[in-house]
Amino acid sequence: MAVRPERLFSAFSWLAAGLVAVSVGALVVYLIVRGWPALSYTLFFGDTPWMAAVFGSEPVFDGIYPAMVGTFILIVFSSVIAIPLGVCCGIYLAEYAQSRLKATFSFMVDLLSGMPSIVMGLFGFALILLMRRTLFGHANTSLMLSSACIALLILPYLIRMTQVAFESLPDKVRLLGPSLGYTRWQNILHVKLPAASTSIFSGIILSIGRAAEDTAVIMLTGVVANAGIPRALSDKFEALPFTIFYLTAEHRDDTELQTAFGCALVLLVITGTLFFISYSIQKNLKRSWRHGE
């Protein structure tokens, strides 16, 4: 009889794992089935020749290429801001912060991670209003503001993943550097960071996904329906999640809805590519840590 709960639990675990796999599989298949027919030259570039679109000599009116570029820049720029900040902040909390300060900072990070993205967007919008009324009369919502707000949105994931990765290193690894006479900085850089890198990169991948999908923040901070390819970080921009949102919300026939599915498929490919790039960076970093001198 004692075996029964164990079997039940094991069956439930199998079921849970199976459900996740089936859900993800079904989602991807559905997206491909609905989105694939929409994939065409016109979806990306409309009537504009692709060379002219890529080099920016002609605007793209009916294609999603500007939204792809906008999303790509948004993810890269927000990651450039958030990754170093988040990783360093996580290291600070794990390695340097004293108990009281650590508790205060941890509370703030938790608060930030629990903040709805629309609030983050509102904060960005309010910031621009404040700037316009004070020192910068020409300040406006833009790709830079969106990137900064998205960076703020993904920051807590990066901080927590880094902090937990560092704090959960076993004593065996933790003591190795100090036992050899490494300084704290040498120990962090040459022992702990390589040992914690897998978890930190998981946090980075999670953040990239979050940065790619968020719509609420960018709606209030710089995204518009027809901005074209952004030429500067101070420009307004288009982004795939927003394109998907307005195409779905305002569709009049099935073709327009299918276009939204096409966009979703492209967004999935972009995030997949970025996941792959960060995975490759992680693998190369690990290789350089393992070998060499």
Partner: protein
């Protein structure tokens, strides 16, 4: 009879963590160029005593240390809690852990990286030092053609010898060994024991051991620890008294 001068002198050492006393009023001398082994039941403070010599206890939150530990480095006696920073001290006091603790990097990087970071040595000098210490621990012939392989691919015994080589590469004067053969099979353990016997001519060795056989085989002095205090100290000559060590261990454990 050979008389050793004192390399490490502990006086009234008291170590506690978050108010809980682990070592209490420990006073002992460790002779130079000899093997001193600490034995005692679990929780008696063996590892804490060992780590008080390289101040590694301070890596744990809530550690407090009182009393003095003096170490003679190249003839100069220094109070390690007053005269040296932990990093300066640890560069002169090598340590090998209970289970093999290699970096998950290549075999050569395990040796070359600490040499680059601690001693800022040039490439040629580092490679020479690496070969010398790998020969010293009799590992060179086994790994010379696979130095770029991951150190984790070595057997447990080889990994432990690599850790010993890594400690030796930094030219310490004192070696601390925390049950260095505990996770090894008998053959690998014998190999490490032979190495230690050979190394004691050049290094002062303080080791924690779990094996009476090992203690009788290689120790010059034995410190029996119980409940955070020293219960008894024996010299190698005392081992000739049949059954004494076993009786004491029986009584204390």
């Amino acid at each position: 009879m050979m008389v050793h001068e004192t390399a490490i002198s502990m006086r009234n050492l008291r170590v506690g963590f978050s108010g809980r006393t682990i070592l209490d009023a420990v006073s002992m001398d460790v002779p130079r160029n000899a093997i001193t082994m600490i034995i005692g039941p679990s929780g008696s403070g063996k590892t804490t005593l060992l780590r008080s010599v390289n101040r590694l206890n301070e890596e744990f939150a809530g550690c407090s240390t009182a009393g003095s530990v003096e170490v003679s480095f190249s003839g100069t006696i220094m109070d390690i809690y007053r005269d040296l920073t932990p990093n300066e001290l640890r560069r002169r006091v090598g340590m090998v852990f209970q289970s093999p603790n290699v970096f998950p990097f290549s075999i050569q990087k395990n040796l070359l990286a600490p040499l680059r970071l601690i001693h800022s040595m040039g490439r040629k000098e580092r490679h020479q030092r690496m070969e010398r210490v790998l020969r010293e621990v009799e590992l060179w012939d086994e790994v010379c053609d696979r130095l770029n392989d991951n150190a984790m691919t070595l057997s447990g015994g080889q990994q432990q010898r690599l850790c010993l080589a890594r400690a030796l590469a930094l030219s310490p004067e004192v070696l601390l060994l925390d049950e260095p053969t505990a996770s090894l099979d008998l053959r690998s353990a014998r190999k490490v024991e032979e190495l230690l016997t050979g190394l004691k001519d050049r290094y002062t060795i303080l080791a924690v051991s779990h094996s009476i056989r090992q203690v009788k085989l290689i120790a010059d002095r034995v410190v029996i620890l119980s409940g955070g205090t020293i219960a008894r100290t024996l010299e190698h000559r005392d081992f000739h008294n049949p059954g004494l060590l076993e009786e004491l261990v029986e009584e204390i454990f």
